[in-house]
């Protein structure tokens, strides 16, 4: 019995040391724009397109800047504010620069969803 208890103690110590309290995982759903493949989603032509461009600052600060059309946006809150003012039938195209860290792309997309925008697509290079 003693060795069994020892074993369980060791197991418990292992679990206590390795446990990770990680936040639950979820998903952000999206649809890809038109493709040259048959059956690819077609980009809606009857809606106005507002390009949401995300690019890294040239200053080398590693912090990206968001541009909504030509307007520079300083924070996600500001982005949500501007998005809230746009008409509902506008299609947002998220077009990040290649070197932008993925987390900021997801952050921007998350803000779009938070602002109740539903017509959002990610730009995909042709070819």
């Amino acid at each position: 019995m003693t060795s069994l208890i020892d074993c369980f103690f060791l197991l418990m110590i292992f679990f206590l040391l390795t446990i990770q309290f990680q936040a639950p995982e979820g998903v952000l759903q999206n649809r890809l724009p038109q493709t040259d493949a048959p059956g690819g989603a077609q980009l809606q032509q009857d809606v106005e397109i507002v390009k949401l461009r995300i690019k890294l600052a040239i200053t080398g600060s590693e912090q990206p800047k968001i541009y909504l059309q030509e307007r520079s946006i300083a924070s996600y809150d500001e982005l949500a504010l501007y998005l809230g003012k746009l008409p509902d039938d506008i299609l947002l195209v998220i077009e990040p620069e290649p070197k932008v860290p993925y987390k900021y792309v997801i952050g921007a997309y998350n803000t779009c969803l938070k602002a109740q925008r539903r017509n959002i697509v990610f730009a995909v290079r042709q070819g």
Partner: protein, 151 residues
Amino acid sequence: MRAYRKRPWSSLWLNVTPLIDVIFLLNIFFLLTINFSDVISRSISLPKADEAQAADRRVPGRIAVTIKSADAVFVGARSIPLSDIEAGIAEVLVEHSLDPQKTVIQVLGDENLPYEVVQTVLQKAARRGISRIEFSALIEPAQPLSKEIGK
């Protein structure tokens, strides 16, 4: 001859049964909740998004694409070079007889990954006729855009 006197503390005995019970329960809890997910085993730090919702498990076809870096891309459990990702996705579609229209690509990307890598995956998925995409994220407030804003 001195009479033997039983020492009073000799009868004291620690009852370990409830202690063992608790340890057993803890072990059962840990054994049931331990998570050997791909994300943890591949040391991927998912981005944070508080608008993320639990994935719909009823989706008939879901292809998980895990991207740790441009050199470490996995389709399901298979390691595939980024340049061959389209072939890898096509292979899974054929293998599991999945309809591209109903198939979902679940992107599990590291938060510090350059977007161009994710874009390549999206582009290749689109070329295979897949349009439904899911970006995996931790359900937490997103990281602020700049340090000043986070204060």
